[in-house]
Symmetry: C2
Subunit: 208 residues, 2 copies
DNA sequence: TAGATTGTTAATCGATTAACAATC
DNA sequence: TAGATTGTTAATCGATTAACAATC
């Protein structure tokens, strides 16, 4: 079951967390107006979103920056370490493995899988590429909680099944596939081609 | 000004296009129910979405697959070629340059930029990495319509400004920054860390 | 006190979907 | 005709935001 915070709000909480780091360090508090400006949203939106997490706001003053950061990190579950496994050691998978932003947010890539015999056994960032068959064992052994799918579309469902079977309940899917899975498995889909196609649509609108 | 199709619908049109390729080739038509199943949405949603583009649907029969595919491609502007420039030749930028899904959809990466002197002059997929200073000239010369930002966050606004100055009106931004830009510039933001943070939130909810 | 800004209500807006008439 | 399925309406649901009382 999902939490009681609206999904649109949940999706903006990481944005607010990031915007807090843009607040000058000599500033102990910041206003919803300032956060809104930085996040590119409406100030009322900021206050409404934050109201779900009982924020450290003071009327006439604003939000305590340090306390709000700590609260957002706690609410988002970033105070725990999250171990991530990536399936697909192609260009995208490797880029994700080496992506500096993950470590900064407390996500650690601890396993990398591929089906290509030429890749299995090679290392990326000190991780040995393992075959899909080992997903079950390694996910359990390394206590992986998040699975990332960076395989071609044909392999995506197979990998997803293996992740789910191994107990993974959170999947970030870069393959252009709609994954079948139990209701308690949360999937976020990032489709790079789709993003370009949406841009292409709006380009056509401007011209006409 | 954006088109009259609701934004939520526009974002689903690429999905329907993709789902059409999952229809068996011996099947000339498909129903909204079939498309919905494949896309993971409600059948009424499919019909409503398609109703905005005057679809080749016949009551009691379904949608003509070939015609619907052609219509979706035309509506999304995929019948034109789109030239893409990528800023940032790190792991992510290179993976995007080599991403096979782009070419398949008619998007061609024609320029690659970086600020690192060690990278400038090297080639990725037969593209020579050029410095940010050349964005203006090369974007104009190569008729780039879409700019992709795969730089660290500090460089993102500078690159965006150069793209916009050069006439780019569509930007796909992978940097965790909220870009300032004129109202007629469409920006899609893909933040990989944010996606993991959203997953982390829902993980916390399940446990409690 | 006067000024600032939150927290919250209520209005508005947009998106989703059940239901069904239209019609192949 | 009977069965199937679209196209569309209207109800519902959820998200956004203007407005303002609360209060520091």
């Amino acid at each position: 079951m999902k939490g009681s915070i609206p999904t649109a709000t949940v999706a903006r909480l990481p944005l607010y967390l990031r915007c807090l780091s843009e607040v000058p360090t000599d500033q102990a508090t910041c206003s919803s107006e300032q956060l809104a400006e930085s996040a590119g949203v409406n100030p009322a939106q900021v206050r409404k979103d934050l109201s779900y997490i009982n924020p450290p706001g003071v009327r006439g003053v604003g939000y305590d920056v340090a306390q709000l950061r700590a609260l957002l990190r706690r609410e988002l579950g970033l105070t725990k370490e999250h171990r991530v496994a990536i399936a697909g050691a192609g260009n995208l998978g490797n880029a994700l493995t080496l992506y500096p932003g993950f470590n900064e947010s407390g996500f650690h890539v601890v396993a990398l899988f591929d089906t290509d015999p030429a890749k299995i056994g090679t290392t990326v960032d000190s991780l040995t590429v393992e075959p899909f068959e080992k997903i079950g064992g390694i996910v359990a052994a390394k206590d992986v909680s998040i699975g990332v799918i960076a395989t071609p579309v044909d392999a995506a469902q197979d990998v997803a099944d293996r992740f789910v079977e191994a107990g993974v309940r959170s999947i970030l899917n870069f393959a252009p596939a709609v994954l079948k899975r139990p209701a308690d498995v949360e999937v976020r889909r990032v489709d790079l081609s789709t993003e370009l196609q949406i841009l292409a649509y709006y380009e056509g609108q401007v011209e006409s």
